[in-house]
Amino acid sequence: MSTSSETETETETETGTRTGTSTGAGPGTGAGAPGRGTRLTLRDAALGRPDAAAVSGVDVDVSPGEILTVVGPSGCGKSTLLRTLAGLLPPLAGTAEQDGRPIDGPGADRALVFQEDALLPWRSLRANVELPLAVQGLPRAERRDQATAWLERVGLAAQAGQLPHRVSGGQRQRAQLARALAGRPRAVLMDEPFGALDAQTRAGMQDLLVEVLHGTGATVVFVTHDVDEALFLGDRVALLGAGRLTAVRDVPRPRDRTARDDPARTALRRDVLTSLGT
C-alpha cells in the first residue's frame, strides 16, 4: 500500500492561514531554514514497543507545511505513530525519516503536544513556555519576552504566573501549544491535544490552533479520534485501524467551518466513518 503519491498539499485555502509553506520544497531543501516545515516519511514501517507491534506496513509521506490528521479508534496505534515520528520510539521495521534522513532520536525541531498534564506542574505557565527556549540556550531576558509574547498570542497573558493546576484544562492546552511553538519547531506532533476538552472549548481550540500556526509554516501531524476534528483541520486525513494504515484521503476545503455541508466533505465523512467501522 503506497500513499506517497497523494502528497499534493492544499495550502491555498479560503482561510488563508497556511501561506508561505511548501511550494515544492523537496527533501532536504528546507533544512536549516527556520520557520519552514519539514518532510516526515515513514516507509514500510512497523511501529510499537519491541514486544508488541501496534501497526505495520505504514507508508506515509507528510509534505513540508502540510497538516496531516490521523484518525482511528483508541488503541489503534495513533500515539505510537506520533512517538515514532518524534523519535521517542524507533521503528521496529522499515524507516522513519525527516527530510530524507533517518530519525534517530527526539529533537527540538519536532515538538510533541500531549493530550493532557504534560506541563511541568512546578513551573508557572510562563516558565513552562520558557523551557524549550532555555534548552536552546537563550538568555533569560529574551526567554521571558518570547514566552510572554507566545502566552499573549494564545490568550493567556493574565494567567502567565499561574501554576498549571490553577487554570482550566483548556487553558493548560493553550499553554502547551504555546510551549510547543515557542521552540520554533519545524514539525508539531499533536496527540489528541483537545481530547479531554468539552465540545465548545474544543472548537475554540481548533480555531486557535489554525490561527497560531499561521505563518509558522510548521508541518503538523494531528492525531484524534474525532472524525469531524480530523476533517476540519487536515489537508489530508489518514485512517488507522486493525493494525494498518488503511487510507490517506485529501480533504476538500480544510479549516473552513462553512465546508461542513459541502457534498464532497459529507461524502468523505461518510466514507471515513464506514471504513472505521462505526
Binding site: 527540538a108 525541531d109 510533541l112 523551557l131 490568550g155 490553577r166 482550566s168
Partner: protein, 299 residues
Amino acid sequence: MNRSARYALRIASLAVALGLWQLLTSQDIDLWLRFSQFPTVTDVAHTFADRLAGPDYWTDLTDSLTRILSGFLLAAVLGVATGVLVARSRLAEDLLGPVLEVVRPIPAIALVPVAILLFPSNEQGIVFITCTAAFFPVLVSTRHAVRALTPVWEEAVRTMGGGRWRVLGSVVLPGALPGVFGGLSVGIGVSWICVISAEMISGQYGVGYRTWQDYTVVDYPGVFVGMVTIGVLGWLTSTAVELLGRRLTRWLPRTAQGPAARPKSARSGAAPPPAATAGRKDSIRTRPEEARDEHLVRD
C-alpha cells in the same frame, strides 16, 4: 478553626502531659506501674536550669548537633544521588541493588564495630552511623519517587531537544522532590535514634553520652533532662525539614483550607489585590473565551 486556637490546642496538649506527669510522680503513685522513684517535673526543671547555666550542656548540644547535621546532610546527598542513579540506570541497579538490599536490613547501630574498625576517630564513626541510618530511607523514597514520575514530562523535555542533564535538572529532581522529602523526614528521625545510641556506646560528650553518664551515677533528673533535650532537638530538626519541604513543594495541588480560600488565592496572581474583583469581571466581559473556560477552573 483559626490559627491561634490551633496553637492554644497544641500547647494545651503538652501542658496536660506535663501535668499528668507531675501528678503521678508528686503523689508517688504505685499502681503496678511505679512512679514513686520517678523524678517530678519540678525536679527535672530545677536540674535543667542548673545544667543550662553550666558549660557542659552547651558543649554536648553542639557536639550532638554537629554530628547529626554532618551525618544527615551527607546521607541526603548520597541517598538522593544513589536513588536517582538506581532508578534511572539499569546498570546501576544491577551493580548497586544487591549490595544495598543486603546492607539495608542491618540496623545502623549494629554497625558500631564496623565503625570502630574503619575509622580512626570516634567522631567519624558516629557520623558514619548517623549517615548510614538516614541514607536508606532517603534512598528508597527517592528511588520510588523517580520511578513514579509521569513519563510525558520527560518525553516533553526530550522533544524540546533536552538531553540527559536537562531531564535530570528540569524533570527528575523537581518532580521527585515531594517523595524525597518524605524520605528526609523519616531519615532525620532515625538519625537522632542512631546519633544518641552511638554516643551512649562510644561517644565523648554529646547529649546521648551525658544521658548515659547520668544514668550510671543514678542521677535520674539528669537522665530526664537529656531525654527532654533529645525530644526538643528532634522536634526542631524534623520541623525544619518539614518546613523546607513544604516550601520547596509549594506547587503541589492542595485542598482548600476553607470554602472561600481557593478562588481568592487563585486570582491573587492575576490581578492586583485592591482591584481583584473588578478586574475579574472585566476579563470575563472582554474575553468570552476566558469566561467559557472559567467553569473548569475549580473542579
